[in-house]
Amino acid sequence: MAFQINKNFYGDIPDDGSGATLPQTATETKNEWPLWEIFIRSKQGLDHKHVGSLHAADAAMAIENARDVYTRRMEGVSIWAVESKYVHASNPDDAESFYEPSEDKIYRHPTFYQLPDEVNHM
């Protein structure tokens, strides 16, 4: 008997819908709102950063919920919401081939330059 075990780590969103966060069948979606990934820009000029996820019925509600959940303490000036099912993630099983080859290639790091003091946010 063959078992397939799908183990999802935090931040991994599988494409096949096998994760607990992706209700795909008709009966499930009826009772559960879709999941949204929320990105907040903390101030003008900076990037939107992923801050977490939440449930909402549609995009408008996702933005409003994000305002209430993630910006109560003046964390941001701009919100992006992306429905989680549209995020494609790398497979944790690929970690070895994806990331380890870069570990011993220090020459790829741009750490040999002198940055002028005026350059911020690098």
Binding site: L54, D68, V69, R72
Partner: protein
């Protein structure tokens, strides 16, 4: 204690405090986590407004009056909040509709109040207007969602209208103190009615044409609900006078 300005400030403060207390009852009980946070955020916004008004009233009264003594040590018939804000939560539909009716009113009120002669009232109104515009947007979206949603949510929204509509008329009938200070609320009635009609039409909910409108809250004559609210709100301060955190 009895001058019109003092009564008026307490009226504004009591509206905010009692609705904050009602919304706060949802804390930990919201339909989903995100909305639990949303409704308690609104509750805290209103509490902040109430504090500003109570502090101002206390500074005018002098003696030993503080924001706490005004919030915790007055009795039922000294509260001048409208009847609408003390109505029970019942369910999400009724909570949302109460918020929507009130936020629409509060937005129009503060918009005018920020031009008031009284600089302190004008400043509080101007500051609060930003958060009220969010309350309005949030509750309006929900009224439309529920009214135009499932058969169950539609039914509950109709029930909510039946329960709350009779308490909306009072908001626009000036009390004696409102004739002398603050905003003439009779002037914002048309704008309120127009906005509410548009949103309720979009929500697919028809409003009662003729209803007897309950009054009295702004004069201190309340529904039976306020006593229970105050019992919970004031219990600690009454049982252990002057205690603090």
């Amino acid at each position: 204690m009895n001058d019109p300005l003092n009564k008026y400030i307490l009226h504004l403060a009591d509206n905010a405090l009692i609705l904050a207390q009602r919304n706060g009852e949802w804390c930990g009980h919201g339909p989903i986590l995100e909305q639990d946070i949303a409704i308690t955020n609104i509750s805290l916004d209103l509490l902040g407004q109430a504090r500003n008004f109570y502090q101002y009233a206390a500074s005018l009264q002098g003696n030993d009056a503080t924001e706490d003594s005004l919030a915790y040590l007055r009795i039922e018939n000294e509260y001048r909040n409208g009847l609408l804000v003390e109505q029970p939560n019942i369910d999400w539909a009724q909570t949302i509709l109460r918020q929507y009716f009130f936020s629409t009113y509060q937005y129009l009120l503060y918009e005018k109040l920020q031009a008031a002669d009284d600089a302190q009232l004008a400043a509080i109104a101007a500051k609060a207007l930003k958060e009220v515009s969010y309350h309005l947007r949030w509750s309006r979206e929900w009224v439309i969602r529920l009214g135009d949603g499932t058969a169950e949510s539609h039914r509950r929204m109709i029930q909510a209208v039946d329960a709350l509509w009779r308490y909306t008329g009072e908001l626009f009938i000036p009390a004696d103190y409102e004739n002398q200070v603050g905003v003439d609320v009779s002037l914002i009635k048309d704008a309120w009615t127009e906005q509410v009609n548009v949103v309720m039409a979009e929500a697919g909910i028809s409003l009662p044409e003729k209803t007897y409108m309950q009054t009295g809250g702004k004069q201190g004559i309340h529904t039976e609900h306020l006593g229970y609210i105050l019992a919970e709100l004031q219990y600690v301060q009454r049982a252990y006078p002057n205690s603090s955190w």
